[in-house]
């Protein structure tokens, strides 16, 4: 159980840091404007910029889905299987 927690936390924080960096570079208008979730800039970002935007999106979804998987889905699946096995044993 503790293993699952640290896996989820590592994914959330590590991948979240990647998203956070990319979002701060390309999705932030300024200190006073929208931060981290502003629409992507209009000008040409070049190959690296485009790639970083994609990586940022991937990192965001990986962080969210990874955390949900290890904190909710995997424990729920195990609990469900345990309950099912106990019901089988009771019958």
């Amino acid at each position: 159980m503790a293993d699952e927690f640290i896996k989820g936390l590592a994914i959330l924080t590590g991948s979240g840091m990647v998203w956070f960096t990319v979002a701060a570079w390309y999705r932030t208008e300024g200190f006073g404007g929208t931060q981290l979730i502003a629409p992507r800039p209009e000008e040409d970002l070049g190959t690296y910029g485009e790639a970083l935007l994609v990586i940022g999106d991937i990192a965001l979804y990986f962080a969210l889905i990874g955390a949900i998987t290890f904190w909710v889905l995997v424990p729920a699946f195990r609990e469900g299987r345990r309950a099912w096995e106990e019901r089988q044993r009771a019958d």
Partner: protein
């Protein structure tokens, strides 16, 4: 490394050498010391030690325990009931790892995302919203309790103390209560489920810290949410903590029995009473 290796011949309590019950006592049929069934590690426990992080942790602790025992055997110092690791190398290397991690994080963040340096303050221009630093919002909210500073009939409808003094008194009351908590509760509980009342009180306190922080900016919040009026917001900032208290208390009380049962089961299997 088996359990037997480091239990044989080690005498920590001055009595018989403890074994794990694997040998017989001269053909009497039963081993000298048979652990009860609920204290024997299950197959699940044994399997959990054979892989991954749990194996690493297990081996690390076993190694530390073994070194401890060797030291005890070689020296004549008096056995103490202390479980600890030596400063060098265990604690030092661990602390170095943690320090390096946080240093790296700071270097990374400061290099990749340099902080915003605002313009110098303009003394001729007052900003529309004035707020203290975020960790003082709750205290700032307590300074805005004018609506509940009572007008006393005995004073002809006047207030006993000014609103400013009332706010400062409210701060004193809240801080005074927080200062009293360690004397009211000794903190023997390790988790909120063990003492639902105090757990729920903590939840209510956190909720109150959030709701009271909204009081100074309630006109701004009321503009954003249609159904909110300033009066409703003010009332909610005192009602919500009470509601949170009862919800948290109900949840913790419901969890308590099952949780304590599981906890005791696990605790006594891992560390059987002597």
């Amino acid at each position: 490394m088996t359990e037997r290796d480091h239990t044989e011949g080690v005498r920590t309590d001055g009595g018989e050498a403890q074994t794990d019950g694997g040998e017989t006592d001269g053909g009497a049929g039963l081993p000298a010391n048979v652990p009860p069934d609920d204290q024997t590690p299950t197959w699940h426990d044994r399997k959990a030690r054979t892989q991954g992080l749990s194996r690493l942790t297990y081996e690390y602790f076993e190694r530390a325990r073994y070194e401890d025992q060797v030291l005890r055997q070689e020296s004549d110092y008096v056995e103490r009931d202390v479980l600890a690791f030596p400063t060098w190398p265990h604690e030092t290397i661990r602390n170095l790892a943690i320090t390096s991690f946080f240093l790296g994080m700071m270097f990374f963040v400061s290099a990749a995302l340099p902080p915003h340096l605002p313009d110098p303050a303009d003394p001729a221009n007052t900003p529309p919203v004035i707020l203290p630093d975020w960790y003082l919002y709750w205290s700032f909210g307590l300074l805005h309790l004018d609506p509940i500073n009572p007008n006393l009939a005995i004073l002809g409808g006047d207030k006993l103390v000014s609103d400013r003094v009332y706010g400062v008194l409210a701060n004193l009351v809240v801080v005074g209560f927080i200062a009293m908590v360690p004397f009211l509760n000794k903190g023997s509980a390790r988790r909120p489920v063990e003492e639902p009342f105090w757990g729920a009180l903590g939840v209510a306190g956190v909720v109150f810290a959030i709701t009271i922080a909204i009081v100074p900016i309630q006109n701004i919040v009321a503009e954003f949410i249609d159904i909110m009026t300033i009066n409703l917001l003010f009332a909610l900032s005192f009602i919500l903590p009470v509601v949170a208290f009862f919800i948290a208390y109900a949840v913790l009380k419901t969890m308590q029995e099952g949780y304590m049962y599981e906890l005791n089961k696990r605790y006594y299997r891992l560390r059987p009473p002597r």
